[in-house]
């Protein structure tokens, strides 16, 4: 029950003194309390747990993390593809066309 679900804020309003909003979870719209994320605006993404938004999803951090994974793979491929220069048996066992 500790799983939070990401959703997009579609509407923000006040009810019973609490900041509430409609959040879209991939087509399912639910009413959510936004009191703990006072900075969010319509269009932002948030993680919702038991009817409460607990954190705003930081798009920039998400993109940076994904870029890091991409880069890691690219680096690895480059290292594998690079010929091992300076080894003694380089001439006897060519590593293909580079």
């Amino acid at each position: 029950m500790c799983l939070g679900v990401p959703g997009q804020i579609k509407d923000i309003y006040e009810r019973d003194g609490a900041r509430m909003g409609k959040v879209d979870f991939g087509g399912i719209i639910k009413e959510v309390c936004l009191d703990f994320v006072p900075e969010v605006m319509v269009g932002d993404y948030t993680i919702v747990h038991v009817g409460f938004a607990i954190t705003q999803l930081d798009e920039q951090s998400a993109m940076e993390t994904l870029a890091l994974f991409e880069e890691m793979g690219v680096l690895e491929e480059e290292l594998l593809a690079a010929p091992e220069v300076g080894t003694s048996d380089e001439s006897q066992s060519p590593r293909g066309v580079t």
Partner: protein, 368 residues
């Protein structure tokens, strides 16, 4: 949905896995703290794709699993009263007390309702002034702000017929207890991402230093988990023990400050019993004196209930990472999700249920 597909990208997962295989030299045991992480790991088969020398064990992070028997018994006693409407998150209804469960109370005529949010229970109380409405306030730091808000709203609305049976548990004291045990096998932790969304991760820094154990804040998607494992293994290989954040899109060091403010107003730290483990000092939240009028245990006079747990279930050992679910003699035999003996099999996030659901009937070690 944003970031769900991206963080499930199999191509990137492969790269992370290759990287983990490249850096792992020693034998390491990592504990994922949260039951949601356990399910994601097992469902995606991540445990089977890791190097043999890296073992994942499952932590105490399932609130349904760790709610002690006596609290369930208190809930059952309150829910059975004729003037009470008892509201709970759905996954608590099948957890057996020392006898029956909340479903049994309901089929016996009790007014037991499943709510999605604690605010739903407040609404029921407002709409039904003649009934006593009780909410079952369990959960870790993720759930606590929502439950705190329900009490605050009930007070603001002047409701006299709303109360909460509170059994909140806190993660850092549990990690402390696990590391303090002479039997612990844990070399590193994957900390529960959404608990940290609320509380931040500064609280974990003294633990990492004291026990010289890396703690990596980790999310729930396959890439999140692989990244968390990679960061933990890298620290172990380099001899570091720090708190690192592999879930930066949802977690900051300081956490959710408005939520923390409300928590410190509504709750105070108490000792708390954990099912299968026993009492851990300072490991729970109860209502603070300003909100004690909303304490259902006092209102319904059930503070005296004290229950002893049955010996057959090994869920305490499972929750502390001492055994795997399929090493319990009852697993899949006397104990199944249809006839659960312990909370770790009842809860959909429990480790025993995950092993059962995904067919882990023999331990991976024995397959080789």
């Amino acid at each position: 949905m944003k970031y769900l597909e991206e963080f499930r990208d199999p191509e990137l997962a492969r790269r992370l896995l290759d990287d983990i295989h490249g850096i792992a030299k020693g034998q390491w045991v990592l504990m994922e703290v949260c039951g949601g992480q356990t399910h994601s790991l097992i469902r995606n088969g991540i445990d089977t794709l890791l190097p043999d020398a890296i073992e994942l064990i499952h932590g105490p992070g399932c609130p349904v699993c760790v709610t002690p028997l006596e609290v369930i018994d208190k809930a059952l006693r309150i829910a059975a009263q004729p003037n009470v409407t008892f509201c709970s998150f759905g996954d608590m209804l099948r957890v057996p007390g020392s006898g029956e469960d909340l479903f049994t109370v309901r089929s016996g005529g009790g007014d037991v309702r499943i709510v999605y949010s604690p605010l739903d229970a407040v609404k029921i109380a407002r709409d039904n002034p003649a009934r006593e409405v009780v909410f079952f306030g369990i959960g870790f730091e993720t759930t606590a702000p929502a439950n705190a808000m329900a009490v605050v709203q009930a007070k603001r609305l002047g409701l006299k017929n709303f109360s909460m049976l509170v059994s909140h548990v806190l993660v850092p004291p549990a990690l402390d207890a696990i590391m303090s045990s002479p039997h612990t096998r844990v070399n590193g932790f994957l900390a529960a991402g959404h608990v940290c969304s609320v509380m931040g991760y500064w609280q974990y820094e003294p633990l990492a230093q004291r026990f010289r154990v890396p703690i990596v804040v980790t999310g729930f998607e396959p890439l999140d988990l692989l990244q968390g494992i990679r960061m933990a293994v890298r620290q172990l290989e380099e001899g570091r023990y720090e708190v690192e954040n592999a879930y930066a899109r949802a977690v900051t060091r300081e956490g959710n400050v408005p939520a923390q403010k409300l928590l410190s107003e509504v709750f105070e730290v108490t000792p708390r019993k954990w099912r299968g483990i026993g009492e851990i000092p300072n490991s729970g939240w109860g209502l603070s004196s300003a909100y004690r009028e909303f304490d259902a245990a006092i209102r319904f006079d059930v503070t005296d209930i004290n229950t002893v747990e049955p010996a057959i279930c090994r869920s305490g050992d499972v929750l502390q990472g001492l055994i795997k679910p399929n090493e319990c003699p009852a697993f899949g035999k006397e104990c199944t999700p249809r006839k659960p003996l312990g909370a770790t099999m009842v809860s959909s996030e429990g480790a025993c249920a995950a092993y059962y659901q995904y067919g882990r009937f023999v331990s991976l070690e024995s397959i080789g």
